[in-house]
Symmetry: C2
Subunit: 205 residues, 2 copies
């Protein structure tokens, strides 16, 4: 494999880039050569944006979403419904739900899912902060929007157990046949869940 770089400068970039997930030495080399073909300002912007992001990023003290300030824009928005909290695994889920434009409440970012296999326990997540938040804020409903995996279901159940004695509506996002999917190709568990979770026609369509 590639190991004669003839430049320590290029070798350094290849080594650093190939530490990123999904980028091997060969791809890293291709990217380094691409950078060399671009203007100096291109590499300046890329390099400094990375350093700048990592040095200045904050996590919202309220919902743990990434933020440029102490409290993120969503939590700071007076038009959002503070009584409704959507619980998600990570910041990508916040973006995905924001893109639907269907949710007007606030979020709580767990920072992962409970996974004994990967050594992630409830203490590694922001579940204690969620409970503190529910106790101190005026929350009426939480929506569990975690992945439909063993880890997601475990985490949902753990949170449900912690909160079930509090006077709080706990819901979970609907599982069912995706829009555009054909019934005959839906897996049987999803199809079963979509029958159990059936809705009045006027609501469901």
């Amino acid at each position: 494999m590639v190991n004669h770089y003839s430049s320590k400068l290029v070798e350094d970039v290849v080594n650093e880039l190939s530490k990123l997930p999904g980028i091997g030495k060969r791809t890293a080399m291709r990217l380094a050569l691409h950078l060399l073909k671009q203007e100096v300002s291109f590499s300046e912007r890329l390099g400094s944006s990375i350093i700048n992001m990592r040095n200045n990023i904050q996590f919202c003290k309220r919902c743990h979403n990434i933020s440029d300030k102490e409290i993120c824009e969503i939590c700071n928005n007076p038009r959002r419904d503070e009584k409704l909290i959507c619980i998600v695994e990570d910041i990508r889920d916040v973006m995905a739900i924001e893109n639907t434009a269907q949710f007007k409440g606030l979020y709580h970012v767990l920072g992962g899912l409970i996974s004994p296999m990967d050594g992630v326990s409830p203490l590694d997540l922001t579940i204690d902060k969620l409970i503190a938040r529910i106790n101190s804020e005026n929350v009426e409903e939480i929506i569990l929007a975690l992945s439909a995996t063993v880890e997601g279901d475990t985490t949902s159940f753990y949170i449900y157990k912690q909160l079930k004695d509090i006077n709080l509506k706990i819901s979970t996002i609907a599982r069912g046949v995706a829009i555009g999917d054909e019934i005959e190709f839906a897996d049987e568990i999803t199809l079963g869940r979509s029958i159990i979770g059936r809705l009045p026609y006027e609501t469901g369509i």
Copy 2:
């Protein structure tokens, strides 16, 4: 698609990363989140290695390979054979040939191949510098090691025409059935070339 970043810092990194070839917005987002999960020093090293490389890279004044100095390590190595020059398209080819440990001469990096379709003319390459080099240095043989494509063959032929009246051995790398390949699956042009280029058994095996 992803468009609610909740952080300008992250948005900047995603925008810059997704300008790289083969990296879309989604991959860029995944990489940005990965960086956020690592130590600050990780992003510092990645970012500064990129800036540092682009600001300080040089191209060897003799062979046009990338280099940290005016003259690259290969050209500066007194144990390399100065009478033999291998002509390659770009720096990746230098690495590939160096990795074989079969070549002890010097290189000349063209910086591309002649391609009228892409607007690359002989003047965009370092062919004039190659000719000046052959005229001023004591070169006995050049090896054309260009891709077996229309552009590669055109470039080889152009260089051959420029040099054929000089007292110089001009060779080209062997084309043939790759090691490990089965004869019945080799394409007919390659197989034909490997028959024309047949070698005495003792040399070819």
